[in-house]
Symmetry: C2
Subunit: 234 residues, 2 copies
DNA sequence: ACCATATTTGTACTATCGTCCAAATAATCC
DNA sequence: GGATTATTTGGACGATAGTACAAATATGGT
């Protein structure tokens, strides 16, 4: 070996994608420059332009790379979950089918699924316009399928409530991946926010309970909260 | 009135703060430039530097402005909730005391609380270093107080699980404020994601149920999930 | 070995970034 | 009303952003 700089990357395109994925999912899209990505991948900034034309194009390619396998995996797990006999077990299996692929990507290396989900979390927070369409197109179908499956297991709960609750699930999932150290901090070390296995179990348990809760309409009529927050202006 | 440009702002500093708050909470910290803020506030870019020295200083001042009143409000509501006799009602009141101030700021104008919470959501996603310390210092005390109160209402559930579940609550809360249109979309119009009042009720109901769920330790021993996601490398 | 193609490199361009500063203007106090 | 302070203005600075492009180099087929 002559020098470190002389080692040749077998596939620079992949290296750039991996570096971009890691940086975007950690610092957000806007905080990372093309030059940062190139340096992390051991490539020239011009190479990024050559392979992906624009920075947006690079982000798009990352999504293309992951969406297919992840949604395929989700469909498989969902189909298997639907076949579970016991209703309670089936509901839990459905939730697990939604959560698991977010943590473990089928084909990619360790932490691949986590990284991409963290990326999605940051992108939805930043309100990235390029990604918004992909989200709506690619993920809404999956979300609808899951909500339908959940509704079959809990037919007495209005779909609207189930939409809200699975929305909360996704928010909790995102937040756990984005700030795992907060759990460690608040639990004073008795829990590890980066322990994906445990996070999944906690998330599934909590979500199943939330989904089974009585809907807002029925049950004992509740008092209207003291303060009236009105409608959010946006 | 002579011309629109001649109207003088009574307090330019406040106008800049308001504009920055709105823009940061919508597009994130990195996507918004000092010039964007100045223009939205009808001010000169130099004015921003004059009042807040740096862009970070501006963000810091926004936090300083909101943290005090919001946490004070939370403390009051939490104290009131602790006095509720019925255990089930008390738990619900505690959760409501945590959620309500995030939607309605005590002193500010309409949507002030929502805007600041949305800002916090985006900042935690972007991993802003300037803000991380404030979060840990200012909000962890409040979070601990709430977890303690919840633990009093649910003494049979280990604190660790309650930390996880209140973490999920915050994630769900953030996500609802960041992408409210997703709820409207997925529910096909039967729910309005921007309806803060309804969002609060759904969130409280779901969270109370999640908090009351059996902890992971006890209950029927569960199967270990097929795939072993291992530990997230970060 | 040679050619055609694919990729990498280095550099340059324009735009915009955060921040600074001196001059202009408004507000305040004696 | 004049002096003093506070604020606003417009322009400038160096740094860095995304992207483009020609030259250099590597690759693969024949």
């Amino acid at each position: 070996m002559k020098a470190a700089a002389s080692t040749r990357k077998p596939n620079m395109r992949e290296a750039i994608l991996a570096a971009a994925e890691e940086l975007f999912s950690t610092y957000g899209f806007n905080a990372v420059s093309v030059r940062d990505i190139a340096q992390a991948a051991g490539a020239n900034p011009g190479s990024v332009t050559y392979h992906f034309r624009t920075k947006d194009g690079l982000l798009l390619e990352i999504y293309r790379r992951h969406c297919g396998p992840m949604n395929r995996r989700r469909s498989e797990l969902l189909a298997a979950a639907r076949r579970v006999r016991d209703l309670q077990d089936r509901l839990e299996a459905i939730v697990r089918a939604y959560v698991l692929p977010a943590f473990t990507s089928g084909s990619d290396l360790a932490g691949g699924g986590t990284r991409f989900t963290r990326l999605r979390a940051i992108m939805s927070a930043e309100g990235n316009e390029v990604v918004r369409k992909i989200i709506a197109q690619t993920f809404d179908d999956t979300s609808h399928a899951f909500i339908d499956a959940i509704h079959e297991s809990l037919p007495h709960i209005p779909r609207t409530d189930l939409v809200w609750r699975s929305h909360f699930l996704l928010g909790a999932l995102y937040y756990t991946l984005v700030t795992p150290e907060r759990v460690s901090r608040l639990s004073r070390g008795s829990a590890d926010g980066t322990d994906a296995g445990h996070a999944i179990e906690e998330l599934v348990r909590a979500t199943v309970a939330a989904l089974q809760a009585a809907p807002l309409d029925e049950g004992a009529p509740r008092k209207i909260p003291a303060a009236n927050p009105g409608r959010v202006v946006t």
